[in-house]
């Protein structure tokens, strides 16, 4: 079963990676467009005479934003769109495990976004002469991977549960966009929030990831100092993956019995 899931995941990830990267203009747009926004934020910090750490923090946070949008628009609502286009019926009829398709969507999306986020971060570093702690590359890489696994596991939960929604799915996505970015402190440290909101934010993988990256790359902290973030991200990955698989099976079963797997134009 695991071999089958991995084969399906590879096939789905291949399509996603090939499809997204076949046109270089999309890559250029995906890297250069966020640069306008990041530049505006960094100019605002400069206008406020903020210390350099704020600029570096905002650069990291802004480059991570793409992952959240990818989770919402290319994970959460994906099964809904597949159903609208008639592909979901084919997926189910083919006998491919839906968990493999979800995993492939996550792997492909994470790979594509990593290419783009790296581009945004590198260009921001060059343009604004931002200094990051280069000695923390390995712990940073590990933290980054854990952030992606937990974030995309959350995306898998959304993808399973969003099958319930009709055309209001895009509205739900829009409602989840900016509030989570705000809670994650993409442009500012979440330390500015009251304690209760900080605790709430610690269940959001994006917030944990950005905070961890800041501590390692900007505040020069060691892996031991932020070990709680690593542990929490591992915990969230397992928890979200477990919930996602359960939910997906439930939705598939419900969909088959109620005939909603093929329902379109709701």
């Amino acid at each position: 079963m695991i071999k089958e899931i991995l084969k399906v995941a590879y096939a789905r990830a291949y399509v996603r990676i090939k499809g997204t990267n076949r046109d270089i203009t999309h890559y250029i747009a995906d890297v250069f467009l966020p640069l306008f926004g990041v530049s505006a934020i960094l100019f605002a910090y400069k206008a406020l005479n903020a210390p350099e750490i704020f600029l570096a923090s905002a650069a990291i946070g802004a480059s991570m934003m793409a992952f959240w949008y990818n989770v919402l628009w290319s994970m959460a609502s994906q099964f809904y769109w597949e159903r609208e286009h008639g592909n979901l019926t084919l997926f189910v009829a083919s006998g491919s495990p839906l968990t493999g398709i979800l995993l492939g969507m996550a792997l492909g999306g994470a790979f594509n976004m990593t290419l783009r986020a790296s581009g945004v971060l590198i260009l921001t570093i060059i343009l604004f002469n931002i200094k990051l702690n280069q000695a923390a590359i390995l712990p940073t890489f590990l933290l980054f991977i854990l952030t992606l696994t937990s974030l995309y596991s959350l995306g898998m939960i959304f993808a399973s549960s969003f099958l319930r929604f009709g055309r209001s799915v895009s509205k739900v996505n829009e409602l989840l966009g900016e509030p989570i970015l705000f809670l994650s402190g993409v442009y500012f440290p979440i330390g500015v929030f009251p304690l209760a909101i900080q605790i709430l934010a610690s269940f959001v993988p994006l917030a944990l990831g950005i905070e961890g990256l800041r501590e390692l790359l900007v505040l020069n902290k060691s892996m031991n100092d932020v070990i709680w973030i690593y542990l929490l991200l591992v915990f969230l990955t397992f928890l979200f993956s477990f919930i996602a698989i359960k939910l997906l099976r439930k939705m598939e079963k419900e969909g088959r019995s109620k005939g909603t797997l093929t329902l379109r134009w709701e």
Partner: protein
């Protein structure tokens, strides 16, 4: 076309837009939905100021800039997105096109609804932002008549930008989105929104000076706090700039429409 008939058409289009936008839920849910996103976008920017504990004047600068930036986004999307939505999503563009309404007026009317709708999130996010950065409401001496005039004037250049994007949307759908995003992102950078655009290095500051948004946003800041209470030269400059943009945009739109019609692109569906 008489003024009465023109107003009737515009009002019908505004009503139509409302019906299309809001028919998926109850009015209460819809109002909450349109408010959430702009409010959190504003909070994202306001907390830059909160994190640094900057001076309140700068907080006010960001507050007004971002609150009105959301309105601009709403207006531009209202005009440009309608073309895409009608063609690709609802597949109704061909029917709209044969209506006895000039096509550019159709887009202006549809976009106007989004511009009007934007007032609610603007007001709510402004109040929430003011509370966060401690702007005392008693210190605001809003010049209502001039502010409303500026609001109406804003729609002139916003329509112009929307029509320019719509002109491009005739020929592409995929890249049309990139253009919309580029325009909105560049307005955030060049538009005097969250930092004074004079800080931009040469020659980027020249781009900012050529955009009506810079004067428009500054006028909003001055009119809300009450620093300006008469129709000054900035207004004249804005009127000239806005209508110049509109005339150019209408000419380009007309030409694009002609080419698209000739090439059979009006109702083409690319499923992007």
């Amino acid at each position: 076309m008489g003024v009465k008939s023109f107003i009737r058409k515009i009002l019908s289009l505004v009503w139509l837009s409302y019906k299309i936008e809001a028919n998926w839920t109850s009015i209460g849910n819809y109002l909450a939905y349109i408010t959430v996103r702009p409010t959190f976008t504003l909070l994202l920017m306001i907390f830059i100021f909160v994190a640094v504990r900057g001076n309140q004047q700068f907080g006010y600068f960001i507050l007004v800039g971002q609150a009105f930036y959301n309105l601009i986004g709403s207006g531009i999307m209202g005009v440009a997105y309608t073309l895409w939505d009608d063609r690709e999503h609802y597949r109704m563009l061909k029917y709209m096109y044969i209506m006895p309404v000039n096509f550019s007026i159709y887009l202006v009317g549809r976009g106007l609804y989004k511009y009007i709708e934007g007032i609610l999130p603007l007001a709510i996010s402004f109040i929430i932002g003011s509370i966060i950065i401690n702007v005392p409401f008693t210190e605001l001496h809003i010049q209502w008549s001039l502010l409303i005039l500026n609001y109406l004037l804003g729609y002139v250049w916003i329509v112009a930008l929307g029509l320019l994007i719509a002109s491009l949307m005739f020929f592409t759908t995929e890249y049309g989105w990139i253009v919309i995003e580029s325009l909105m992102a560049s307005l955030l950078l060049f538009g005097n929104i969250i930092f004074p655009s004079d800080l931009l290095p040469f020659p980027l500051n020249l781009i900012s000076n050529a955009l009506p948004i810079k004067i428009w946003i500054d006028l909003n800041r001055e009119l809300i706090i009450g620093d300006l209470n008469y129709f000054n030269f900035q207004f004249v400059e804005l009127v000239i700039m806005s209508f110049s943009y509109l005339i150019v945009a209408l000419l380009i739109f007309k030409e694009s429409e002609k080419i698209a019609r000739k090439n059979g692109l009006i109702d083409i569906v690319t499923t992007h």
